[in-house]
């Protein structure tokens, strides 16, 4: 297969970038999207050009490292899929594909397609954890958790923190990410002790990072590779209102 790529190239955070055209010949339909870029980078290196910088790690759809906006959609056109799990068999010979970085004020571009998602780490550091004394691990069944609650918390915990929600949101909002983390922990008995502080501090940090304000468009939910529902955003809204009006 022959694929025409239009890739965003940008030297660093402070320079402006532009779209550069590339042609990748001999693309195997069983290659992943990232492997196709590996092939292109091989060509560029052999020609003595600068390879395209992009984030990747596990390449099996669970780490949240790969990013890229493919034809205007974070992680490409497939539902519930990361870029590393997007295979070239979904494209036809001669297709033209636009590849751009995740864009948001809070995600500055490091180089080409790699963006700095440190803002997410700082939101987690503000409350996305459970404080426990270390020591002997407790018996797993010692704390009963109702099945439906465990399921909801598990669904929210599926968030891999990739930032596709921010890249998809026309407002550049990080509500789905923050909501998933708060939903995951605030529903479980282990997380309830810090529920109020968590909701307040994580939202405060999210705002401080310069993310946009959720207007319930739902693009985040549609693009999320882990199919996190915006019901979690409603839950965060409830947790936050409760924390503001009833918290100490």
């Amino acid at each position: 297969m022959k694929i025409n790529l239009k890739v965003w190239r940008q030297k660093n955070t402070n320079t402006s970038g532009k779209i550069v055209n590339y042609v990748v010949n001999e693309v195997n339909p069983d290659m992943s999207f990232l492997e196709m870029i590996d092939v292109l980078n091989g060509q560029l290196v052999r020609k003595g050009e600068d390879p395209i910088a992009f984030d990747h790690d596990c390449r099996e759809g669970i780490c949240g490292m790969c990013s890229m906006v493919v034809d205007g959609r974070p992680h490409g056109p497939l539902h519930g899929t990361t870029t590393c799990q997007l295979y070239m068999r979904n494209y036809k010979d001669g297709d033209t594909i636009y590849v751009e970085p995740f864009r948001a004020h809070a995600f500055p571009i490091i180089k080409d397609l790699a963006v700095n998602r440190g803002a997410f780490d700082r939101i987690i550091a503000a409350g996305g954890f459970v404080s426990v004394s270390t020591g002997q691990a407790q018996d797993a069944n010692a704390i009963p958790v109702e099945k439906a609650v465990a399921d909801n918390a598990m669904d929210a915990a599926a968030c891999i923190g990739c930032g596709a929600c921010v890249a998809a949101c026309p407002n550049g909002s990080a509500m789905l990410f923050t909501a998933a983390k708060v939903s995951h922990l605030n529903q479980l008995p282990q997380g309830k002790a810090e529920a109020t502080r968590r909701a307040l501090n994580m939202v405060k940090q999210m705002d401080a990072e310069g993310f946009g304000k959720c207007s319930n468009i739902g693009a985040c939910e549609a693009e999320c590779p882990k199919e996190i529902s915006i019901e979690n955003i409603a839950r965060l809204n409830r947790e936050y209102i409760k924390a503001v009006f009833t918290g100490e």
């Binding site: 239009k6 965003w8 779209i19 906006v69 034809d71 205007g72 959609r73 056109p77 636009y98 751009e100 864009r103 948001a104 004020h105 809070a106 998809a168 949101c169 026309p170 407002n171 550049g172 909002s173 509500m175 939202v203 405060k204 999210m206 705002d207 310069g210 993310f211 946009g212 304000k213 959720c214 207007s215 319930n216 468009i217 739902g218 693009a219 549609a222 693009e223 915006i230 019901e231 955003i233 409603a234 839950r235 965060l236 809204n237 409830r238 936050y240 209102i241 503001v244």
Partner: protein, 230 residues
């Protein structure tokens, strides 16, 4: 900042202001429509004129009307402010070279533009009727049998206005804009205050869709009927 101020400036606080004022304005639409439908009575405007007299003289309604003006202003200012903040957060107007609209609705993406158009319509609409009724003495006074006071003949002003084709066109187009604004706004308002649960979300969505179609249609048929058939 005390706790309440920091709540109001937080992203969720700002959205809750939008949601609550939005829901209040949404409820107002029904009240306004029910009143307006009296224009369609075949009584030369008696029912409508008595109703508009009541609406401008009842102290409770007057109080609510000040709340309404405040609601409109808050919703507009807060909305424009959120729009400006969100443009910046998303990384400017030109975000992606290739944009996709596959995962967002037209209404959802364009709430601010729809809102601005509705605001412009409101200015025109208030100037057409509210201003003339409240601040000028252009309207003739009539006393209906059985009444001990004069009422302003607002019905006559309405029937003159709606004989102009361009007025009818502007009013009808504005109701299409309102329909799209409601299509996103209705369910969105519930989501913001945390009301999204598989148990009742389908109901909210269905009612929201019906509301977004029926209310604007109800408003739009009035100028159309006046233009063609009265």
């Amino acid at each position: 900042m005390n706790w309440f101020q920091s709540f109001l400036v937080s992203s969720l606080g700002q959205k809750i202001v939008m949601s609550l004022t939005g829901l209040f304005l949404t409820i107002f639409l029904i009240v306004h429509l029910v009143g307006n439908l009296q224009l369609l009575h075949d009584d030369g405007g008696q029912a409508f004129n008595l109703y508009s007299y009541f609406m401008t003289h009842n102290p409770l309604i007057k109080t609510v009307s000040y709340l309404l003006y405040t609601g409109i202003i808050l919703h507009t200012i807060q909305g424009l402010s959120l729009w400006r903040q969100n443009r910046k957060a998303a990384g400017g107007m030109k975000r992606y070279v290739k944009t996709s609209t596959a995962t967002s609705s037209f209404a959802g993406r364009n709430m601010a533009w729809l809102g601005i158009l509705i605001f412009i319509f409101l200015v025109i609409h208030l100037k057409d009727f509210w201003y003339v009724m409240k601040f000028t003495s252009q309207l003739e006074m009539i006393t209906y049998p059985g009444q001990d006071h004069e009422v302003k003949n607002l019905y006559q002003l309405v029937s003159v206005e709606f004989k102009e084709l361009w007025v009818v066109v502007i009013y009808s187009i504005s109701m299409v804009v309102l329909a799209f604004h409601l299509l996103h706004g209705f369910t969105s308002a519930f989501q913001t205050i945390g009301a999204n649960h598989p148990k009742y979300m389908t109901l909210i969505k269905v009612v929201g869709k019906l509301y977004a179609f029926l209310i604007p249609i109800g408003f739009a048929i009035i100028p159309i009927i006046f233009y063609c058939c009265k």
